[in-house]
Symmetry: C2
Amino acid sequence: MLIPQPYLLFLGDVTDPLAAKTARGIQVWRPEQCVGELRLPGCTVSLGLEELDIATAVARGAKTLVLGTANAGGYLPEHWLGTVRAAISAGMNVASGLHHRLADEPELVALAASHNVELFDIRHMRPKLSVGSGKKRSGKRVLTVGTDCSVGKMYTSLALEAAMREIGLKADFRATGQTGILVAGEGIAIDAVIADFIAGAAEALSPANEDDHWDIVEGQGSLFHPSYAGVSMGLIHGAQPHWLVMCHEMGRPHMRHLPHSPMVSLADCVEANIRAAHVTSDNVQLAGFAINTSNASEEEARAYCQQVSAEFGVPATDPVRFGIAGIAALLKERG
Amino acid sequence: MLIPQPYLLFLGDVTDPLAAKTARGIQVWRPEQCVGELRLPGCTVSLGLEELDIATAVARGAKTLVLGTANAGGYLPEHWLGTVRAAISAGMNVASGLHHRLADEPELVALAASHNVELFDIRHMRPKLSVGSGKKRSGKRVLTVGTDCSVGKMYTSLALEAAMREIGLKADFRATGQTGILVAGEGIAIDAVIADFIAGAAEALSPANEDDHWDIVEGQGSLFHPSYAGVSMGLIHGAQPHWLVMCHEMGRPHMRHLPHSPMVSLADCVEANIRAAHVTSDNVQLAGFAINTSNASEEEARAYCQQVSAEFGVPATDPVRFGIAGIAALLKERG
């Protein structure tokens, strides 16, 4: 799957800024792939991009209309269909991260076929996969792992890709979640594959490559999250990472959505991830910590990162506040 | 899902005894649920059950025709369809473990509807699932885990169920694979669920129960198998086991189908499984080892089991050769 870029980002008529998380992620990480935004009357959210209609967006090269916001329930509202139809009729592909599938609307399927464009239902992609083999492959791979869900693995992966490219490394972000896939234009929603194929999906996502090429694989979940650890485990084995970056939120009291599940310690989490990765990657090492410190003052954040760095002997940073150049430099130096 | 028992076991016209593995498993573990077998001309495999035609089987109470053999490729041969049609027309349900789905044959679907019977495609059941919560629940649970795939986790689970029932415990086998589901008449093919729902499936499979009730959950894969560890991990978390039984094949040189993946040591495997289980089950313990010693002499087998038992301080047995009463007794005593 390769979603043709650049995009026109469709925001619908949402009023909750959080609903535009996907669209904002694309805009932050691939601004050059966003020709503009399209909003319906009543929409109070904006990315600050130029507002374009379909015709103008096509004229400026937009290849895909991205449904970049989700209303509650993830369905496709009737009054969004006019925009989707107009985009298809103008020759644009449509990519959606909604639960409700474009492919379940026969009218849209027929219209897309007649205009020779594609409909991408990101949450429901079912690539043909094999089970993982664990066979050694060439190229270098970094995997972001985490103490929990939603601690910044996608952000960290994309920030690391940017920082590594900046110091001259060949680095490609490999997306495993919905927003990441729209950012990269490709990827596999790894939590949506059949359980037997998790590791195989991760292998397919980060195939053998040149010896000096880096894949930065977006992690998912946590080995310590009672809901999603299976996904994390298969991803660790399939990614066959040479380096791990541990993502964490400073001060989070318990596992996300599970007040009965205490937060794991950084030391236990690092050890468990290194052990798991060791099954397919003999010399896997910890490259550093990416810590979301948004709930703390800058001073507290700095002190915490310094303390973690001293304890583990690797860089620890908040990539949003302090950047991630230290981890990129370590990877460049130690390869 | 509850597949109505007893069964008529359909063997088709296979000639490879291994192809009847599923049918044989049902016959070994639930002989009282097998009214007979049905073979086509050319079939050289038999379970030694009485050969019955459809009408006689129905008269003797058979509720479901089980396609209990697989031809190479797992498809449904044209010349088996006559038997399937006859069973449906006689009021029997049909359960199939083939890759090819009964539900993909519109003629069979229509026939089943008109006779008010059900078609069960075991490999393709998609129960409505939630993600796992990791919340503590009542009842006792044992999970079989393994150093590898195909080391006897289903056999061990069923043998343990039988041994525990024999000493007066309330024990129920909980099936996670195809053959196990046909044996139990219910279960969830856990390697076929969507990755996000592995732990949730295991929770649904072994729900809260009476304090003195035991679920014996059939394990899958291995934390050290590069293809399937994600499934194993989610199952461990969702099963929330109080006790683990470690299954192993004596002398196996490397992970199944993966000559480049060395076999894990028992000590490392036990430790990793206990650590993983600890995420949802604080006091999880090892109950013993179930070792497939079929490649060794009885003397070697005994010596190996004794050595393992001495090293870990728990029973170690080959359940086929020596039974599994020692582990059942330990569970009864220590609860």
